[in-house]
Symmetry: D2
Subunit: 359 residues, 4 copies
């Protein structure tokens, strides 16, 4: 199984990179909520390729078509399904890849898992293209969360060795919340924009790719969301985050670095700021015992370098059962981190709405 | 909700630190499987406190009592429930903590989540003690996995700033698989044993605590286990790992470090080793597209320093709505990393059996 | 929530009667299974309206379009989505019904449940039209079940007061298995065909409607499928059967009539027929303790008379909060029992495949 | 799988008739709810055997022990587990039944399902005794539902051929709500008490058994609870009702009888009774489109005659693979309908609370 998730809010995805269409059904959203289609398109556009020389030239101009669940501009409360027809697909680019297992991709594991019957063209159901429906679902959830005052915002924490600043974990500024979603390369330190472009283009010029880290903040979320153990905020978000292709690490608050601190440093001391309970530090990323503390929920996600590279690689020919050299041609992203930003925000939005509904 | 997890294999936990008892029901295990109770006790013992000066003096000598699901030494296939009665509980140690929210603990978030009705004694349902039933469930799953040849083994990758070596990601040695589970401080480089004890005891002497990183390997697992997207190996394991109190980060393979590599370095090249498909490196931690590749599944988990410390801390008194100083007395672990090792292995075993059953 | 179901096999439905489209995603089906599209169309056709004077004149000529999960004629193993665009919809027929709550329909309950934001046109998401995607999903599951030898077959047990014979519960003949699916009015006693047509047309001529009972048999199913308690065969099937609009009763084996028997009559005695274990009677409908016995699984489903009638009715105007007379015009089915037959078989197929996969 | 159910409210059961203990964990109940333990005991007592000559002489005097989830008399909001130790078990009574498959029981299907490893003593996990934990869970849910004003009440609609009156479907009287739960044989027409005792004792005297029908009403439930399709009120309740051993039929409102009505008779006309929307009839059992209408939810459940009878029966010896005669001795219920009443109410309470929480 693979494509259905959730308890209080359920999502169901479908599609292959070069099949007829891709899409998502979301069930459990409240009725009567007005959906801003323009904002959905903006989110889709943030993820879309072909916008500049940092990503693949493949155009996915097609917009989402909402098939159900929306009536007179508002949610009906019944399942909402959005679909995108695949258009600019060049299946012949991939035909020779049927037997050659691309390193870093799911070609081999998918072949074993599905006994060779998976659609191999362009990665099929494993394609990053299937994250487009997730952005659609996330765009809806974000709008609903905003009606609770909750905002989800991210920046590129690093690309390769270039590191951006971190969010102030106890106070994510309104300026960042407003500006980051509009930036092609969302960075706190805008001066790094050029360095990062160069890092990506340098990899591209070598037929190679780079990865990076995305830092995400969920702000203005009430204390008391989430649960101990299996439905903890961390479990719920990490489950969804690791569903996104290329994610290899997730950490909350100080994350791995918290292991270098003493307890007296790591513990976030509580205090009353007027009536409101706050913590002076936020090493726990706004979550204690799996439940939000009211401080910003902060997490970071490691995105591996794009597996598709033009450089020659060694691999296996699974049909002829022998080792072989692989030269991939076609259009690829030298870096998908910037395109993954709205995907990460989207699954976070889906996860938080699930938890909110479960309260 | 909080205490029930799974799809093909389901677990249900219950209990509070100072309540009547704690336990776990596991449903979906195969019938006719002989359970080695001695090995269950060994696993329970690995997690148990009070074994040496590195952990809390609280004794939890009580063994698990199996209430159902076992008949004539073998699983019946129907729900198997194990329970532990709480014995050495000193509730009066905690009574003054009813209103004082311990930093780093779930006292405050639990209070908000449950409107003040949660059992606050010793952390109640948020207590690390609730991981004992998880070890019980994991010990059963481990035995079943071993009938498939699958072994789960871990070591302490670091405590504070002291770093152990890493597993060889393409070949975890049989010696390690055999020895690590028997070690009080499971380390690849045994020479570090003393340094780590000193690191822990140094924190203890200051009334402070330390955290660390656990590295875990799942070896001899077939290729083709897991799924794309929501039921990926990473999603399933991370969900469970982040359910374990004190876990703040999870990464697979090279994890966060993979973001520093170029694609040509990060991609694990496939080759035929005789009939068997292997990869020369294992930066993806044995998982591609959410599915096992047949290489060892390798992940690391960040465990924060024990939140309970003796040092004075600032916090809030939630009943009197004012800031206050907190001095905790009682028995505490200066480090829980070594006790968390069997817990991490246990939830990994539960997760892998879930995925195996879903194949 | 409403539109997602399943554990080992998951289905997700979407759509409204007069929206853009309706459809179903099915996840968890095996890979490499060849799908006979012609047979899917046959099943869709069995449910389709407008075939004769017994059902509504509304044409739903549109065929299902498969968007994903099928590659080179075989299942990929990843989510399979099928969609139907709504075409012959006459929304103006329904506009005046926005405030008038049709008795027997979900207009009022849907209005309350969704705070008036549900799509009211033609029943919206509550429309029987949404069962078309279920037939699509069922048609796929039936084909997979047939590869195990399992056949699902039904007949009209009664329409109004006209009663057909019952299946021989210990031996459903191959002739019936072959013939019933091809009959416009599937009856064991074909001689009743005319009486039943008259019963339906008599109701139609009065602007009224009739209901009936469908009896369904699942034959050649192995013993040992299903589970005690919550995932029993009865629970799983009944859950799905009661999801079908207009179903008000479900019984297995002798069902309600078994309460009139003594235990010595009701108990089905086992015997060896060669190597095979059989029962001499089948009052338990092939299920004991929630698990199949290897005898035919037999159940009956009560379908209420079509709620849409032309006769004048009293009801409420929910916007004006007063009682009012209601005269419905438009095209309606005087009886939906014959069209419900493939729907009932479909959800049974989905349920049985779920249970088979969970074994 | 078998023992875990639910979405917004989850229950997990465990235990075998002659094992160490049986119990239930319930997760998702609100925190701070005061639990009346005396009322739980009353409900347990209603189901308990050995109270009179109408049921088995087996005593299950043991009371439920609450292990977790209750603190200072109130729910904590975390998993609540209750356990009963098995005491008066006479395993030797059953030893000879290991190979002889009792007709009407799950001996054979359980043996196949679990490859012969199920605990066969007294039916093991298939025993009706496992419904005791369901009554415990139901007793908690009932108390919570009553805080919303919702009452669940049942009577014996029939035993064998003796038929009680039916509930007035549009108005279940307060007198019945108060009196029925206190009656040994809950009947609307109390004059039938003697006839029913005679019917049961007559079967008993012949070493035989009788079944019956239970009618249940859920009153004072708001309109708007439940969902279209898979999480309909009927689906949710039927799923749980068919989990109860011996249930072979479930119908809502007029149920199977509604198929004999014309649409104009079956449709329940709405009207305003002051501000409140009501229906003049309630043939749909208070549910339209899977959602409550605000009228009483009425359903009936068919309970088959107790499978355990003293009369000689033919069956198979599964170890020796031959036909054989079976003579069961020991203590049995000539009728379990009266003991099933609180079980039916309990699962109904669990189902309704699940749906209420999912609103």
């Amino acid at each position: 199984m693979s494509g259905i998730w959730g308890n209080n809010l359920k999502i169901s995805i479908f599609g292959e990179s070069h099949g007829v269409g891709i899409g998502l059904t979301i069930d459990g959203i409240p009725s009567g909520f007005p959906i801003d289609l323009e904002r959905i398109n903006c989110e889709m556009e943030r993820r879309a390729p072909g916008r500049n020389n940092l990503s693949t030239a493949r155009k996915e101009g097609d917009k989402i078509e909402i098939l159900s669940g929306l009536f007179e501009g508002k949610t009906t409360g019944t399942p909402l399904c959005g679909m995108i027809r695949n258009s600019d697909k060049r299946s012949k680019d991939y035909s020779k890849l049927k037997s050659l297992m691309r390193p870093g991709h799911a070609d081999y594991t998918g072949n074993i898992r599905y006994d060779g019957f998976n659609d191999y063209r362009g990665g099929g159901h494993f394609s990053g293209r299937i994250t487009a429906p997730l952005v659609f679902g996330g765009a809806i959830c974000k709008q609903i969360l905003e009606s609770y005052g909750i905002k989800i915002v991210s920046h590129i924490k690093s690309i390769g060795s270039i590191e951006d600043e971190s969010f102030n974990p106890v106070n994510v500024s309104d300026t960042l919340i407003e500006e980051l979603p509009k930036m092609e390369l969302p960075l706190i330190n805008k001066a790094l924009d050029n360095d990062i472009r160069n890092e990506i283009l340098s990899a591209k010029s070598e037929g190679d790719s780079v990865g990076g880290i995305i830092e995400c903040a969920i702000v203005n979320i009430d204390a008391g969301i989430g649960n101990p153990f299996f439905d903890s905020v961390e479990s719920t978000l990490a489950h969804l985050l690791f569903s996104v292709p290329a994610v290899k690490g997730v950490e909350f608050g100080e994350g791995f670095n918290i292991t270098k601190l003493r307890g007296s440093e790591a513990n976030d001391e509580f205090y009353y700021d007027g009536d409101k309970v706050k913590t002076r530090s936020n090493n726990n990323g706004g979550i204690l015992g799996g439940i939000t503390s009211g401080m910003p929920v902060i997490f970071r996600v490691a995105i591996k370098p794009t597996a598709s590279i033009l450089k020659k690689q060694n691999t296996i020919n699974i049909d002829e059962k022998r080792n072989e050299e692989l030269n991939i041609e076609g259009r690829h992203d030298p870096c998908i981190v910037q395109r993954a930003v709205p995907v990460i925000e989207s699954v976070a939005a889906i996860g938080i709405l699930e938890l909110l509904k479960g309260r």
